[in-house]
């Protein structure tokens, strides 16, 4: 079964490879929004997400001449973005470990366990609660959740983006979902 988005993307990429600026604009138009939102959720910071989005497209331009349609263009783009986001998270981690003199009070507040919520109260959850819960996930688990639930990628595509097996994706999503459930205070109510 052919995927119309896939063939459209491929046609656009071919045109970009021939130096067509209009096709490039269309590709950016199609993926700029989803990609920057994906990165914002992954990195938890709009400004950095914007920079990484730009870097992703620049890397894409650097490699587009060599692009082979083995995977979907979107999967390829998300792979570049994910790798750049991982680099950024690693840099942050290094910076954080170096800042030993940092006062505890100045640290970015970690996700504190919320008060238990009823299932009905889920609808009352604020965006910040969700973001905080997402931030409390490990980077791998967050990637899997954001790619699956927000970006709508299949397990196979996520496996390709993250460089792991489909089984690992399933496992990551399982643990992430369980963690989110606990973090958002649902499990306590269910039991």
């Amino acid at each position: 079964m052919s995927d119309p988005t896939r063939s459209e993307d491929l046609a656009l990429v071919r045109r970009v490879q021939r130096g067509d600026a209009a096709a490039l604009d269309l590709l950016v138009e199609r993926y700029h929004g989803p990609l920057s939102q994906f990165l914002e959720r992954l990195l938890g910071d709009a400004e950095t997400a914007r920079e990484v989005t730009q870097e992703t497209f620049l890397r894409m331009m650097g490699a587009v001449a060599r692009y082979q349609p083995r995977a979907k263009f979107s999967t390829w783009l998300y792979t570049i973005a994910t790798n750049l986001a991982r680099d950024e998270l690693r840099r942050r981690q290094t910076r954080a470990s170096r800042a030993t003199e940092l006062d505890d009070a100045d640290r970015e507040p970690l996700a504190e366990p919320p008060t238990p919520l009823a299932e009905a109260a889920l609808a009352q959850l604020e965006r910040d609660d969700i973001r905080r819960a997402l931030r409390s996930l490990s980077a791998d688990h967050r990637e899997a959740v954001v790619l699956h639930y927000y970006q709508g990628l299949s397990y196979k595509e996520i496996a390709s983006v993250c460089g792991c097996t489909v089984g690992t994706v399933g496992s990551r999503i399982h643990y992430a979902v369980r963690h989110l459930r606990r973090h958002l205070g649902v499990q306590e109510q269910a039991e």
Partner: protein, 216 residues
Amino acid sequence: MNRWQRRWAERHLAAYYAGRLSSRQRRRLAGWLEADPELQALAQWHTQLGALLRTQDPAAPPDSAAQLALQARLRQELRPLAVARLWRPSVAAAAALALFAGGCLTGAAAFPRQVERAVVQTVVKEVPVERRVVVEKPVKVIQKVPVTVRVPVEKVVTRWRTRTLVRTQVVYRSRGDRGRGAPARAAVPVVQVRSSESHQALAALPGGERPAAVDF
């Protein structure tokens, strides 16, 4: 449902809703879901989560200013790409022309000489030939490790016996081959050496590349 079954069911709920389970696994999980309220609660959470995330944390409106700036920046990157695409064939054409011109100026065809240089060692002898069978096989994978192998080129049937013309040449095997299977595609071009042409071909070879032995 025992502890292990519960664990399996919990681990596979996401895959169940993503349609990634086999029909047998799906039936088994559906049966457990009907019987176990606790598992039902978890399953409900799985189905709710996607909707919850999208409704409570919706996509922000696209930042059109950033997008326009990015498009302008990328268009600048597009120019060198287009120039490179124009350059590549023209450079290749110029190189081919230079080779041809060089060959004409030195009074010899440039391409055959290159081919002859590729023959490292050829074992061949002029014999009365009744029929020939080309036995060269197409092979694949070029990678890292250069090894010297003897590649059968032709089988020559003479009046008395059948001989295989063998050429020793450097080919590249993939690391995973470990000496098994067909050799990788020759790094140097495989040339069909016919015995009637062999003496001319050998005469054209530089001294160091002449065959060490004649087998027939």
